[in-house]
Assembly symmetry: C2
Homo-oligomer: 303 residues x 2
């Protein structure tokens, strides 16, 4: 796969549908870093990029689209489907929580809330796909999804990103696969996962994707039980670090206090690697952090 | 006064102290507009620009600085004083509310909470100035304050602002004076005030600054009893509109839903002129909105 080319094509394809998200300089860790505010993307996370790229690059059947999601991908898939005029069926686990469930409902999608964790929602979405012929938009382990998420990093390069190193939070691995696919050898990419939801770290240690248990404050966004194969293949030899829930909560608070950026725990997870000192830049190493999701619960306006 | 020159000098002076705030494109009113996210400035409002410009352009006496504030200016003055190593005494009215009061306390400033509205805090700050020799940082009606706020618009121009028209919320008038001073005849500036706190609109109608009563959801940021003279002089013949509290609340919610931007009512007031239809752009008129303050109460992290 020529990922650079796929991502460039995706960038043209989703232009006008995805929000161009801004970048700022921050000194939150005590030294200058760059932040890309991708939590300001439509529906509050980077997921809209992959959803639009998928829907705009494939023939959508009459049965429409189906997605399984911890919440953010479902909202993005439903939003993209609504924008483009397709019916959408979304399965979310209960742990998506009321604000993400309300967000999906607002799009007009047909929503089923499934007991348990993300993997259960995925099983039901696959059954629905088989039964109806609806097109599955995978949350992370499909080329069109990864290429779509990669546009975030292509856009950042075009915004004159100077960093040597980019820190990205990891759930199922679609976003970081997009980063690895776009940057190749041009920048170092660091994977940051919660200690309690670390499918990529476990896979890198085991030498293959393995099932992990998922829990903790970021689980409804980062709680994939197994890393995607596309991500795993791209991630060989990469730098992977883990952060505690307390470190994530501290980084979340720091984003509000320094910049009035309000994000969900997943959105502060990559930054937590710096604020906790789990990742320490070397001398002269310029670091950048992707802020990836804002769908905090409860929603400040009550959902 | 050569305002363009004053503002350019101020911009160099405060570089590295003020945050460069990002801009995004939005379709919240149903057509494309530009937003400058100045609520991401240090201490959550544009006020840090004027505070730094004042402290960096004058000889600060041993007694330090004093400021009266509805909350945002006090936080900015206290933050700038702390950053530059000066003692700060801040007077705020009770209606500043717990989150702004907590914000000022965090800077280490000596804080007095005064009963009633902003004008009472100003009276006490002036008495303190006379008694101690501390330097008053006026919230809006001083040239160094106005030039500092004007840097926001100089920065926006350098970010390739394309708009014909810029909408700005007005309290005492420091920010919009900065806009008028910087843009001169190059762009149309529209003043937006709450119906319940409209010192500029009343002054323009009366032909001179007059006292107004202040109330409503944005009063702790926009509730100046009388427009500043500098603003009034610059504002002759300008376009001035009023918005309801309901329109402000709707715009505040729209900013969260569309972009995960969480602001206080004052921060959504300029946008409310578009979302309510009080200001309707003409054919081909490109409009931009300054988002000016984020210090919502209660603070999402509990203050």
């Amino acid at each position: 796969m020529n990922w650079k080319s796929e991502i460039s094509v995706a960038q043209d394809r989703i232009a006008g549908h995805a929000q161009v998200t801004p970048v700022i300089e921050s000194r939150i860790p005590g030294y200058p870093i760059d932040l890309k505010l991708e939590h300001m993307q439509h529906t509050g996370s980077f997921k809209a990029r992959g959803a639009f790229n998928t829907l705009l690059s494939m023939n959508v059947p009459q049965a429409g689209v189906v997605a399984a999601s911890g919440g953010n991908h479902g909202a993005a898939a439903a939003y993209a489907a609504q924008t483009l005029g397709y019916p959408a069926k979304i399965f979310v686990p209960e742990l998506a929580g009321p604000s993400k469930i309300a967000l999906i409902r607002q799009t007009g999608a047909d929503l089923s809330v499934v007991s348990g964790e993300y993997a259960n929602a995925l099983t039901q979405a696959q059954a629905y796909e088989a039964e109806t012929g609806a097109m599955q938009i995978h949350a992370y382990d499909a080329p069109a999804t990864v290429a779509g998420q990669g546009t975030c990093f292509a856009e950042w390069d075009a915004q004159d990103l100077q960093a040597d190193t980019v820190l990205v939070a990891v759930g199922g691995g679609g976003l970081i696969a997009g980063a690895l696919a776009w940057f190749g050898d041009t920048r170092k990419v660091v994977a940051v996962e919660p200690e309690t939801s670390c499918a990529l770290n476990a896979a890198l240690q085991a030498g293959k994707p393995i099932d992990v248990s998922v829990s903790g404050i970021a689980a409804n966004a980062l709680g994939a039980r197994r890393i995607g194969q596309i991500c795993f293949d791209l991630a060989q030899g990469m730098n992977s670090v883990l952060v505690s829930d307390d470190a994530i909560a501290d980084a979340q608070k720091a984003l509000w206090q320094a910049h009035r950026i309000l994000v969900e725990p997943a959105g502060a997870t990559a930054l937590a690697a710096l604020t906790s000192g789990v990742y320490q830049p070397g001398p002269g190493e310029r670091v950048a952090v992707l802020v990836c999701g804002a769908n905090i619960a409860p929603d400040p306006f009550g959902a």
